[in-house]
């Protein structure tokens, strides 16, 4: 496969994953705003920090409001991580790798682009927001589904998966990091309804509320939430799960040889670190410090993959 093609696949799937994650974050922000237990504007600040687009927002705006934040995250062309920018970038990459993906995958990405472009021509009113978010998730699911159902399990698929899981791990780590303080043991005793909303918002923003309830019933507090999202290998958005998938896919790519040895070394270290730790040890180390370290490792892995598989030169 061409290095350029591997690059295109990796980023196409990163951007699709990002579009979905951003939509989910907007949904969470909106839900918290509706509970009116909090200063909503602060909430939008932290939502944008989770989506890693706060700096750009502050550079472009003088004030923070729900409308401005939602528009920045959904539609802004100046925000490279907005849903519109992400879907554009995903489609542009899909065009670039048109020969590597199946017709079904291309059509799914193209139809995501066409229908979201139409739906996001104008500012989205509060009333229309839920259906827009549903539309984004629907299209992301479609792309994921046809990828799963129509693509050969070869190196093309491996690069697609690497992009997906790197982005997802990055997203989960970011969400946890923005909210890490509500999960700290010192906050545990508080137990106010505000905390419950905060915890719930974390679970919602990674679509883990259902899974968590299934596992812990009505119980389960911040320690369990942190454990679930960081170390639980059954939870498809946890750091441990994503790290495992990165290992698997790099392993398939190497196919017993030494291709991508540098990337594998880094990913193995990440996974082993996650598997050998308990959540208590992570708290002891410092949750924020741990997440920052993980984010750094993830970006080093991304760079190493680029290099190992000759994405650029």
């Amino acid at each position: 496969m061409l290095g350029k093609t591997a690059n295109g696949l990796f980023w196409m799937y990163r951007y699709m994953e990002r579009a979905e994650n951003t939509a989910r974050l907007i949904e969470t922000g909106q839900r918290i705003a509706l509970t009116r237990l909090n200063q909503t504007d602060d909430e939008w600040l932290s939502v944008m920090r989770s989506a890693d687009c706060l700096e750009g927002f502050m550079a472009a705006h003088d004030e923070v409001s729900r409308d401005l934040a939602v528009d920045w995250m959904l539609r802004s062309k100046d925000n490279p991580s907005s849903v519109v920018s992400s879907v554009n970038a995903a489609r542009q990459n899909a065009r670039l790798v048109r020969t590597a993906i199946t017709g079904d995958v291309w059509e799914a990405v193209n139809s995501a682009y066409m229908s979201l472009k139409k739906a996001l021509t104008r500012k989205v009113s509060e009333r229309d927001l839920p259906s827009i978010v549903r539309l984004i998730r629907h299209h992301a699911a479609l792309v994921r589904g046809v990828t799963h159902g129509t693509m050969l399990r070869n190196d093309i698929y491996d690069f697609a998966r690497l992009g997906t899981f790197l982005e997802r791990a990055d997203n989960t780590a970011r969400i946890l990091d923005v909210k890490y303080y509500v999960l700290l043991p010192s906050a545990r005793a508080v137990g106010t309804s505000l905390d419950n909303v905060q915890w719930e918002s974390i679970l919602r923003s990674v679509s883990a509320r259902g899974g968590f309830r299934m596992e812990y019933g009505a119980g389960g507090g911040p320690r369990q939430i942190a454990d679930f999202l960081i170390l639980d290998r059954r939870m498809p958005r946890s750091l441990a799960f994503c790290a495992g998938k990165l290992c698997d896919n790099l392993g398939y790519l190497a196919d017993g040889g030494d291709a991508g040895a540098g990337s594998r070394e880094k990913v193995d270290a990440l996974r082993d670190g996650l598997l050998s730790q308990s959540i208590d040890a992570i708290f002891e180390f410092g949750l924020h410090e741990f997440l920052q370290k993980t984010l750094k490792e993830l970006s080093a892995i991304s760079r190493q993959i680029e290099q190992d598989f000759r994405f650029y030169a």
């Binding site: 061409l2 290095g3 350029k4 542009q92 291309w106 059509e107 066409m114 190196d155 030169a313």
Partner: protein, 474 residues
């Protein structure tokens, strides 16, 4: 009964359904126009979803446009096609022989059949190709011959496309769309298939691999990139052939081979189907500012390390000035009379012809020798007085730059318009593959249709559309 001066391929000149269209018409007549209109819209959605669009240069991504598709097929009988094919094959053989001759001993110039200046003062002539023995002896691996029809079985060649003819993806997708929308039509009519084209293309290209290539040669398609107007087609063909789609920056000359950067290092390419013009192919040998090509590829090519399809320098055979010599070229190399007619052409470089053209501008079509896309031409009968006066000045200033042809009475095929079936002018571009194994012509081709009433300009950049083209089994 009145005889129409314009020949309609469905209705003839006397409003009697012609035989190849009978079956189709019986079906059409039974159909609810509302359903057909809905189908027409469905076709557009299908095209947009599959991304069969062309980019308009210098515009944003919003400017990916559809070429309008008309659901009424253009139908050619098997016997008409067989006759046409023989003419096309003869012409394509002659073009390849001509190119070999021009870039070797130039017998045709020595025999005085073409003035030397026609070649040496022509921008399409590539002196770097002199004496190069191209792999398999093939210069034009893919040719598109533009034909117009004036009466039953009367076809004229309007233009040869021997560089990088485009549009074949529309031939394939138009058929695919018709098959999806009206499967019943294909059980009622025995239409020859076009869907084998990508496989034929791959085989044909592989058969032209250089001698040093392995048994299963590596083929790749070279595109200028995703902003090129025909990018969709480049990706489509690479995908359908199952080969890599590369850009200049993916390629590099290593150890005397052109190689592509893969995730496992550089891999040599045997056959490069390039959709990049000669000038941009190699900054070391042609245009030094080109970012699209591969530095040094021409040196590899001359040393027999890669096949470039089509070969550089083929433009010398499809130039509008050379066109007027095609009857001589066919006779010179095949020893036969041309089976396909040329449109009579006046070369304005010749004083007598220029005088005639200037006296008869109102009745003639005048074209720039190097123009394409339907730009820079004068269509006398429909032009305003001012247009004609302007063109007269241009002609006098640079006569060599122009040729003139009579306005042929081009055939029409109906389109499905709001008012029902309405005749519109069409042309036809069949696609021809050339390899040492032989010449293969896909039965059908791209029918372009001028959607404006009375218009003769079928180019997509100027409001033309396309139709599915059927060749019936005998």
């Amino acid at each position: 009964m009145t005889e129409h001066s314009v020949f309609d391929e469905m209705w003839g000149r006397d409003d009697q359904i012609r035989a190849p269209y009978q079956n189709f018409f019986d079906w059409f007549d039974q159909e609810d126009p509302k359903r057909l209109r809905a189908k027409n819209r469905e076709a557009e959605d299908l095209f947009r979803l599959t991304g069969i669009t062309f980019n308009v240069y210098g515009r944003s991504e919003a400017e990916e446009r559809l070429i309008p598709f008309d659901i009424i097929p253009r139908i050619i009988s098997g016997s008409e096609w067989a006759k046409l094919s023989r003419g096309i094959e003869q012409r394509v053989r002659a073009i390849n022989a001509f190119l070999h001759d021009i870039y070797h001993t130039q017998e045709i110039l020595k025999a005085g059949r073409i003035p030397r200046a026609m070649i040496y003062q022509n921008e399409a002539f590539q002196s770097k190709m002199m004496g190069v023995d191209v792999p398999g002896g093939v210069y034009t691996h893919i040719v598109g011959i533009d034909l117009v029809c004036t009466g039953p079985g009367e076809f004229y060649v309007l233009e040869d496309n021997a560089r990088t003819p485009s549009g074949v993806s529309y031939m394939l997708e138009n058929r695919e769309t018709m098959l999806q929308m009206f499967p019943e039509l294909f059980s009622k009519n025995r239409v020859q298939s076009v869907q084998q084209y990508p496989i034929d293309l791959r085989r044909s290209l592989a058969a032209c691999a250089p001698r040093m290539a392995q048994a299963d040669p590596t083929v790749a398609v070279l595109t200028p990139g995703i902003y090129n107007s025909a990018y969709f087609e480049h990706a489509f063909l690479a995908d359908q052939m199952g080969v890599e789609l590369v850009e200049g920056h993916d390629l590099r000359v290593i150890d005397g081979r052109v190689a592509m950067r893969t995730t496992r290092g550089y891999k040599p390419i045997d056959v490069l189907y390039r959709r990049v013009d000669d000038d941009f192919l190699d900054p070391l040998n042609f245009n030094p500012d080109s970012q699209l090509g591969v530095p040094g590829i021409m040196d590899v090519y001359r040393a027999g390390g890669i096949t470039i399809a089509n070969a550089p320098g083929t433009g010398i055979s499809d130039d509008k000035a050379i066109y007027s010599y095609m009857p001589e070229i066919v006779e010179f190399y095949t020893g036969e009379r041309p089976l396909l007619q040329n449109v009579p052409t006046w070369r304005c470089s010749e004083p007598d012809s220029l005088a005639y053209v200037l006296d008869n501008l109102e009745d003639l079509v005048v074209k720039e020798v190097h123009g394409s896309g339907g730009y820079g031409m004068l269509i006398g009968p429909t032009a305003t007085k001012k247009d004609i006066a302007d063109f007269r000045r241009k002609l006098r200033a640079r006569p060599k730059n122009y040729i003139a042809q009579p306005t042929l009475s081009l055939s029409t095929v109906p389109i499905f318009a709001k008012a029902g079936l309405t005749p519109r002018h069409v042309d036809l571009r069949p696609y021809v593959l050339v390899s040492p194994d032989g010449i293969k012509i896909t039965p059908g081709g791209l029918t372009r249709v001028a959607l404006k009433k009375g218009s003769l300009v079928v180019n997509s950049s100027q409001g033309g559309g396309t139709k599915d083209t059927w060749v019936l089994e005998e």
